[in-house]
Every structure is written in C-alpha cells, then in structure tokens.
C-alpha cells in the first residue's frame, strides 16, 4: 500500500470518526439522563480523530488532506439522517454536496 493510499485512508477514517463524535455531542443535548457520558465519549473521539489526522499529514500533502477532510460533511449529514433521525431534505443534501465540492476546490490549492 502506497503512502498516499495510507494517508487517504486515515483521512477517511477521520471523517467517519468526526461524524460519530458530532452524533455523540448532539445526543448529549438531546438526552438529559446520560448527558455527561455522551459528552465524554464525544470528546474522547475528537481527541482520537485529531491524532489520526496528524498521522495522515505525515503521508499526505496538507492541501490534499484538507480537501479530502471535507468528506466529514457527508458523513455528518448521513449519520444525522440515520442515527439521529433528522429530516434531511433534498435541498439540504444539495446544499451539503455543493459545499463539499466547493470546500474541496478551495482546499486543494491550500
């Protein structure tokens, strides 16, 4: 496996973990009972994902990593829809896809 492939894989894992962490943080404001458990889990995952991202930067150019990391928008929206049961309309998906493309274009030249 090439260095770039490892880097891309790490950024994809980072994007997925970002989705999970954000779902946990959202859960913390939805459920009063296990509020601190969700916050703690969210923070732990945020720390882990930061470590993974810094490892990814060893294998990838910053601009490329930044561009791929906009994948987190897709993962967060997907998890919001299926884990939090949020109403994600076609207009919201269209907005997310446009931002994903735009963020990629801006970041790739960073």
């Amino acid at each position: 496996m090439g260095q770039a492939t490892v880097g891309v894989l790490l950024v994809v894992i980072w994007a997925l973990l970002e989705g999970v962490a954000q779902v946990f943080l959202k859960k913390s404001v939805l459920e009063a009972v296990r509020r601190y458990l969700w916050i703690s889990l969210g923070v732990v995952i945020l720390v882990i994902e930061k470590l993974i991202y810094s490892q990814a930067l060893l294998f990838l150019d910053v601009g490329a990593a930044y561009a791929i990391s906009s994948l987190n928008l897709i993962s967060v929206t997907f998890m919001s829809r299926y884990l939090l049961r949020e109403k994600v309309t076609r207009m919201r998906w269209l907005g997310v896809c446009l931002i994903f493309i735009g963020a990629g274009l801006v970041a790739v030249r960073t």
């Binding site: 943080l25 929206t77 829809r81 939090l84 949020e86 919201r92 997310v96 493309i101 801006v106």
Partner: protein, 163 residues
C-alpha cells in the same frame, strides 16, 4: 515590523459581516421561529473556526523551514498565540453545544463551512495570498450550498425525529 493597519481590519470585518448577511445568517435571525441565539452561536462558531485556522496558518508559516519537527513543536508551544488558541478551544466547544441544542446537526455543521469563505478572504487580504479561479469557484459553491441549507428548517419537528 509595520504597525497594525486597523483600517484594513475594520474593512475586512465589515466585508465578512456583509458576506454573512448576504448568504442568510442575519436574514435567518429575523425570520420567524429562527432563534437569534442560534444565529449568534453560528456566527461565533464561524468566527472562532476562522481565527483558529488563521492562527494555525500564521504559526506554520513563521516556523523555520530547516528545523526538526520537535523544534517546530517547541517553537509553537512558546508562542503567546498558542495560549490564545488553547483558550479559544473550550469557548468553541461550549458554543457548539449551545448551537446543537437549538438546531439539527445536519443544519448547523454545513453552515459552519462558511469559515472556508472567511479564511479564504482573510488569507487573500490579510496574508496577501494569491487567489486563483478554482478557489473562487469553490467559494461560490460553498456560498450556494449554505444558501440552500439556510432555506431548510433549522430543526426537525419532534414527531419526525421519533419516527
């Protein structure tokens, strides 16, 4: 080192305010049922994200290119800016929890992508970085995307979220 150009910074802030107003955050705050606190929270999230990214950029640019990674880390740790960033992080976290308490995650998270626009504008005007057509096209895509999202309801009605 030249003295800070406050007039230029005021101009940039005014431009950012106008941009955010144009794409809808200010507009959303005066829309019926859209909490002002949420609009302010989103604006604060974007501003803090912008500051963190710019400070990171400035810190990286100011590092000696021939230093080892460990020397670079030490150089960053001894900068007053680093302490400022460390203080901003909890503010960002608690503000984000407040935002999540008032809006869908799938609404709030993409809106904060406006920091791509803020960072880009400030990098061009403040750090004198070059802007090319691809980046400008990207900024237009981001603004269009945020506009589409701002047209959706900021929170899922309870019935649908339970279904």
């Amino acid at each position: 080192m030249s003295p800070p150009n406050w007039a230029a910074e005021k101009g940039i802030l005014l431009m950012l305010f106008k941009t955010h107003r144009m794409i809808g955050i200010y507009g959303m705050s005066i829309r019926k049922n859209f909490p002002t606190r949420l609009a302010v929270g989103l604006l604060i999230a974007i501003l803090i994200d912008t500051v963190l990214q710019l400070v990171w950029k400035v810190a990286v640019l100011s590092l000696p290119s021939d230093g080892s990674p460990w020397l670079n880390v030490q150089a960053i740790l001894h900068r007053p800016l680093f302490i400022f960033v460390v203080l901003l992080m909890p503010c960002q976290f608690f503000n984000w929890l407040m935002v999540l308490g008032k809006a869908d995650l799938s609404f709030a998270q993409p809106i904060t992508s406006l920091s791509y626009v803020s960072v880009f504008c400030l990098s061009v005007f403040y750090l004198n970085e070059a802007a090319d057509l691809v980046q400008i096209a990207g900024i237009i895509f981001v603004l269009a995307g945020v506009w589409f999202i701002s047209q959706t309801d900021h929170v899922t009605p309870p019935k649908e979220s339970e279904a």
